[in-house]
């Protein structure tokens, strides 16, 4: 899978610079270099300004439709508004299908976006017509279901993104009403929705929508922790995060194939869960030998994560550095702060940061060193 959008443009620039360097060092012939760049340029571009503008235009028009409904404008009779919404839904879906067939995916994407968002406008209009309240979550669930169905039938990545945002909206509406309670079946929805959207992401190839899903699950897990704060929960959170991180990091046969297309994100987000779990543990454990043990475990986990995924996953590496450095400074402030004055504390912190920097530089050099023999091979 090729990186899309802005990253792609940046990749083109980096590739050109690197190739120029290699030509300068005599590693590449000039002819080969220009042939490589020409080959890259001949691939179908995945970034097109036209497509982005088409999507932006569709979002603006959809916002206009949604707000026109919300304005409850009396100049247009209610029945006309309702029929108008239906006509829009039909027109957008049919023209979406027509553009998809005429090989104009940009316009098809825009039309499908408009169709799905128009359904939201129609549902809101019905609620407004009959003065319904307390049914918002049911409506969003219905909307989410139709976005998923539309994504599956048209194999459309943009519809998956819409579904991802609607899953967030659903969870948000639940939190708005019952942020500190687990009521009914709705709290089970976020992970189920996340799984559904993830399946659609694999089906449609809408790679970047993954972040929406991962963040939804992490938000949901953090919310669960906020409901049942306690040491046991923090330990469980960290343990589950570690298990998930190891599962996605170690190349086990059944998962490896699926994860190859997912890139760096699964390891990063599972390690983020571990980091949040460790943070919770630091909220629960505030003193004594257990705190020292926790500090050692935290440092070991961050070094271990760098060891397992540090070399090929920059996101995990930097998060692990952050955890490592934060833990060092935290331990320093806990054990030294009560002994010496503030000025001395800052001096010690400065020296400690220097020690951390020295350790990190050593680690980085070691990775640079271990990479060299591979390149030679």
């Amino acid at each position: 899978m090729r990186p899309a959008g802005q990253g792609e443009e940046m990749y083109r620039g980096r590739l050109q610079r690197d190739i120029e360097i290699w030509v300068g060092k005599g590693l590449l012939e000039k002819g080969q270099a220009s042939a490589m760049l020409a080959d890259y340029d001949s691939r179908p571009a995945s970034f097109s300004l036209g497509r982005v503008l088409a999507v932006l235009a569709a979002l603006l028009v959809a916002a206009a439709i949604l707000l026109l409904v919300a304005s409850n404008w009396e100049a247009i009779p209610r029945l006309v508004r309702a029929i108008g919404c239906l006509v829009l839904i039909w027109a957008f879906y049919l023209s979406g299908a027509a553009f998809a067939n005429r090989d104009q995916p940009q316009l098809a994407t825009a039309m499908l976006l408009l169709a799905t968002l128009s359904f939201g406008a129609a549902v809101s209009l019905v609620a407004q017509m009959y003065h319904l309240s307390g049914d918002e979550m049911t409506m969003v669930l219905l909307w989410f279901g139709l976005a998923c169905l539309s994504a599956a039938l048209f194999r459309s990545g943009s519809q998956v993104v819409v579904a991802g945002f609607l899953a967030w909206l659903y969870f948000g509406l639940y939190l708005e009403a019952h942020v500190s309670d687990w009521i009914g079946w709705a709290p089970y929805a976020p992970p189920i929705m996340a799984a559904l959207v993830l399946a659609l992401i694999y089906y449609t190839g809408a790679g970047r929508a993954r972040h929406l899903v991962y963040l939804l699950v992490i938000g949901w897990l953090t919310w669960i922790y906020s409901l049942n704060q306690g040491l046991g929960m923090a330990v469980l959170y960290t343990a589950i995060g570690l298990a998930a991180f190891l599962t996605v990091s170690l190349p086990l046969p059944p998962l490896a194939g699926l994860l190859r297309t997912a890139g760096a994100a699964p390891a990063f987000y599972t390690f983020l869960v571990v980091a949040i779990g460790l943070l919770m543990l630091h909220v629960e454990i505030i003193s004594g030998p257990r705190l020292v043990a926790l500090g050692v475990v935290t440092l070991a986990i961050s070094v271990g994560a760098i060891g397992i995924r540090g070399r090929d996953n920059g996101a995990v590496r930097y998060l692990a550095y952050l955890v490592f450095a934060a833990e060092m400074l935290f331990l320093a402030s806990e054990t030294l702060g009560s002994i010496i004055g503030t000025s001395g504390f800052f001096l010690v912190s400065g020296l400690l940061v220097a020690v951390v920097a020295w350790l990190v530089i050593r680690l980085e050099r070691r990775f640079a060193g271990s990479r060299k023999p591979e390149m030679a091979a």
Partner: protein, 200 residues
């Protein structure tokens, strides 16, 4: 924004499949919307009418527009009206509330129950929305919603309703289906409907 675009797939022409998908989705959504509209229109047309005292507040919903939040006398169900068993643990519950016409013409609570209440001549049984119930000996009234707490108005008119003196002037005529679902029929200011409310 580029992550919104469908690029990753080498797109084969979907052919007739795209049109079948478009028609299926549009038909399904038409069906859903028609079902929603008729289910609400039927309650307005055939439901039993009750008159409820209300007081407004004035917020705005991003998708549904400006509305008046209505707080009813019957929104707090006094525990002494409860009949039948009360749930022991906390959890999601619904209340059945029997309304009866009072001397002043408005409808008030005659009886309430966590189970179902049988139909009775001259009364209307209303179902609350699900709510989070926590048993407590100190509760004097249970706060419930009936799904008729929002009255959507054209932009800019919410304030006008809000300025109507709260005491007794604002009321709601609601229609209640046999299953106990309530729906707002009209908003009354000094006994007169403020807006026309057609069935469709």
């Amino acid at each position: 924004m580029s992550y919104l675009s469908d690029t990753v797939h080498p797109r084969r022409a979907l052919g007739r499949r795209a049109f079948i998908a478009a028609i299926a989705l549009a038909l399904l959504q038409t069906g859903i919307l028609a079902t929603m509209v008729t289910s609400h229109a039927v309650i307005l047309r055939n439901g039993a009418e009750v008159l409820l005292k209300a007081a407004p507040v004035d917020p705005r919903d991003l998708l549904r527009g400006e509305y008046v939040i209505l707080n009813y006398d019957i929104s707090g169900v006094p525990v002494e009206t409860l009949t039948g068993a009360r749930p022991q643990g906390k959890g999601e519950q619904r209340l059945s509330v029997r309304l009866k016409k009072q001397a002043d013409g408005y409808w008030g609570i005659a009886e309430s129950s966590f189970g179902s209440l049988p139909a009775e001549e001259g009364t209307v049984v209303l179902m609350s929305l699900p709510f989070d119930y926590r048993p407590s000996d100190y509760t004097t009234a249970i706060r419930v919603d009936y799904g008729i707490e929002s009255y959507y108005v054209p932009e800019g008119e919410g304030r006008h309703l809000e300025q109507a003196p709260a005491e007794g002037r604002l009321a709601i005529a609601a229609s209640v289906s046999a299953a106990g679902t309530a729906q707002i029929k009209s908003l009354l200011l000094d006994g007169k409907p403020v807006y026309d409310e057609p069935f469709y």
